[in-house]
Amino acid sequence: MRSDLARTGAVVRLIVRRDRIRLLVWIGAIVLLVYVSAVSTIEIYPTQADLDLAAAAAEDNPVALAFNGPDQALDTMGGQIAFQVGAFGLALVGLMSVLLVGRATRTEEDSGRLELVRAMPVGRHAPLVASLLVVGGALVVVATASALSLVALDQEVHGSIVFGSALLAVGLLFLALTAVTAQVAENPRVATGVAGGILGASYVIRGVGDMSGGGLSWLSPIGWAQKARPFAGETWWPLGLALGVTFGLGVLAVLLAERRDFGSGLVAPRPGPAAASDELRSPLALALRLHRAAVAWWAAATALLGFVYGSLAESVEEFIGDNEAMADLIASLQGVSLVDSYLATSLLITALLAVGPALQIAGRMRAEEAELRAEPMLAAPIPRTSWMGAHVALALGSTVLAMVVGGLGLGIGHAAAGGGIGQVAELTIDGITYLPALLVVAGAAVVLFGAVPRWTAGGWLVLTACFVIAMFGALLDLPQSVINLSPLQHVPPVPASEVRALPLLVLSALALALVGAGFVAFRRRDLATS
């Protein structure tokens, strides 16, 4: 056993060196989410009366329970903060584990890089154990920093520790789970896909459970973490349950790793077609084949999000109740109904999500170039504009689709909860008014790809900036000149406002210019394979 772990320390250092930025971004993002949620909760509910109202509203709101978690001491500041970070924060920690472990194990094996490491006097299990140590260490940092930030905001110490420990427990459990799927799955994508799917199911199961009394939540690891009741009469033993399962999964992972060959899972790959289908004959057909799953998943995500937001709209008045700070946050405009303001905010959040597929596909287009798969296509009689055009068409099209189905979902959800059937068409059209602004953000990624390909991922920074401006711009007191930088701020907040043509035309022209500039720049530059 000892020789199986030889040089684990060296592999730990390698992973830290390689993924240091990625690790820091994950840690920073989750700690920031906890901190910002706590700060804004304290700001929105300054008095006990406000907290009482919020608690009363949430208790009667099954959808809020489904999203955030069980009704546990919501009339205390700590309980309310734990509720606001909620199941989403726990799921995010799980996602961090799944993606980082998947990347450090099978993805690294598939790339051929781990082979070089394993050919050294490095133990059989050293890479697996090293990746678990690094990600586990990052989880400890997340948990500690989260707990400390709550203590720094004057929350109870015991509750803060349980809160941090709950984050850690969920993170570790999905870390061990991904270590298992990495042994079984046929390829890296399946390994992270299966673990991610179980994470998603855990979120949904506890959502249904929390909505209907809590019994079902015991089937979900995220449910266990919330059963530890931070700030609500802390109970440690559900975390012990999570730890026990984590240990069991860890042992299983090691046993399976003994039986697995390097570079393949326990499940063998199946053969595919010996010849291509008739459709696969153009760059667009290939791009469709490569991106179709991403397009579908993002569209499903925005449609579902819209539907859930829509079904909440009619109960928004009672949910917000008399809390003025909350009402102000949602209705920054006077003279509009609370429901319309709420729908406008929902549409804005859906719109931010709908940019995701465009940025992901732009990133994959860059990967096609950097990983040498563009080269043989461009050595065939394919104009550069056709190659890039295929990917860009899918990128922009996927955002259009995600936004349209997001608006449609919002409308259907609203209509189903009593908002009237007319809402379906109306909110779909309202969603479409966001498209010019979304295409500006997507266009930024396209122009980056054309001009400075290595910075294609900068599109995500643009989106993050838009997100921060939209969600926290008022809270952070950002100057108007900064707020105006986000294209989404120039879209009239429909349906709480009338549609105005001029900003939409200007944004459309800007989007067109950015995309066009991206094409021109790509046609003029060298293929950049490094």
């Binding site: 595919g272 077609p273 010996a274 290939l286 084949r289 050595a379 065939a380 009689p381 394919i382 104009p383």
Partner: protein
């Protein structure tokens, strides 16, 4: 006939690195042209310029009578390219990828495709994710060789192939030449170049250091001679072009002689030897290795060069 490829004074820089520094290359129609050089000497960069993937900074580049940057799409209808570093879409099978590439080029010859898959013993139903390096290389080779393009641009196309497949590849190239197609073959494998190429260009640090027919190039180098004579040889060390002369006399008066001679002066050296009464004579013509080493010798340590010499 006009050359298929003409490159004169090609310069390409990446930041501070001067990857190509005045490179020349000329490939005639119907010939198999070897493109030799050590790692990092600029072979792949040159090929990427020829494919219009990189833009030349200076110099003149003409391919099939056109400008490879400006007329890329038109020219690519008439050429097929096989990279040395093959990266495939992991979700697609080898068969799907081959079909996709042949359709992109527009000349689909189903029988030829199937024949090549058979000859290279490729399983087209496997997902590209599961292929070894050699099998990925086969996918690129089948996709390239299945075309009827006038020009084949091959960048170390056999890296990762086993000797049987290497032989199959050489056969395919001979067939291509018999059909009158032109081949630019960048390679490290000197035996492959010797077996296939009519002419070679040797580059180093982004410059062409030697170019010509293999036979002509051989004449530019030295032949190694070793002989035994009955009587002592006289006048050999005074001859032009004779190097590293070594004479040992045996007790019975026989002489063992070893030397190197510039191939153009071989005749005079042998004439001098025969005056002393030849008992035995071996002469080894220069190999491509020696040609190659002549230009890179100073990059090798003396030991490595000696080891290579000893191995022949």
């Amino acid at each position: 006939m006009d050359p298929v490829i003409t490159v004169r004074g090609l310069v390409k820089t990446f930041g501070a690195t001067r990857a190509l520094d005045g490179l020349d290359l000329e490939v005639a129609p119907g010939e198999v042209h070897g493109f030799l050089g050590p790692n990092g000497s600029g072979k792949t960069t040159t090929i990427r310029v020829l494919l219009g993937l990189l833009r030349a900074d200076a110099g003149q580049v003409e391919l099939l009578g056109g400008d490879p940057w400006r007329d890329a799409v038109e020219l690519h209808r008439r050429l097929a390219y096989v990279p040395g570093d093959v990266s495939l879409w992991p979700k697609l099978t080898g068969g799907e990828i081959i079909d996709f590439f042949t359709r992109l080029r527009g000349d689909v010859d189903q029988a030829r495709r199937d024949e090549l898959i058979e000859r290279f013993e490729l399983d087209p139903t496997k997902k590209a994710r599961t292929y070894s390096k050699g099998n990925r290389q086969k996918v690129a080779l089948v996709a390239g060789l299945a075309s009827s393009a006038d020009l084949l641009v091959l960048d170390e196309p056999t890296s990762g192939l086993d000797p049987l497949m290497e032989a199959e590849f050489q056969e395919c190239i001979r067939e291509a030449r018999a059909e009158g197609r032109t081949v630019l073959l960048s390679s490290h494998i000197l035996a492959e170049v010797e077996a296939l190429c009519d002419r070679v260009s040797i580059i180093r640090a982004g410059r062409t250091v030697e170019s010509g027919a293999l036979d002509t190039l051989r004449e530019l180098t030295r032949t190694a001679v070793s002989a035994e004579t009955i009587r002592p040889v006289e006048g050999l060390d005074g001859l032009p072009g004779v190097h590293d002369l070594e004479i040992r006399a045996a007790l019975d008066g026989d002489q063992t002689i070893r030397f190197q001679v510039d191939t153009v002066h071989l005749d005079a050296a042998i004439a001098t030897l025969s005056k002393a009464g030849l008992r035995s004579l071996t002469s080894s013509p220069p190999t491509l290795e020696e040609l190659f080493l002549r230009h890179y010798g100073d990059e090798l340590s003396a030991e490595a060069a000696a080891a290579l010499d000893g191995g022949q």
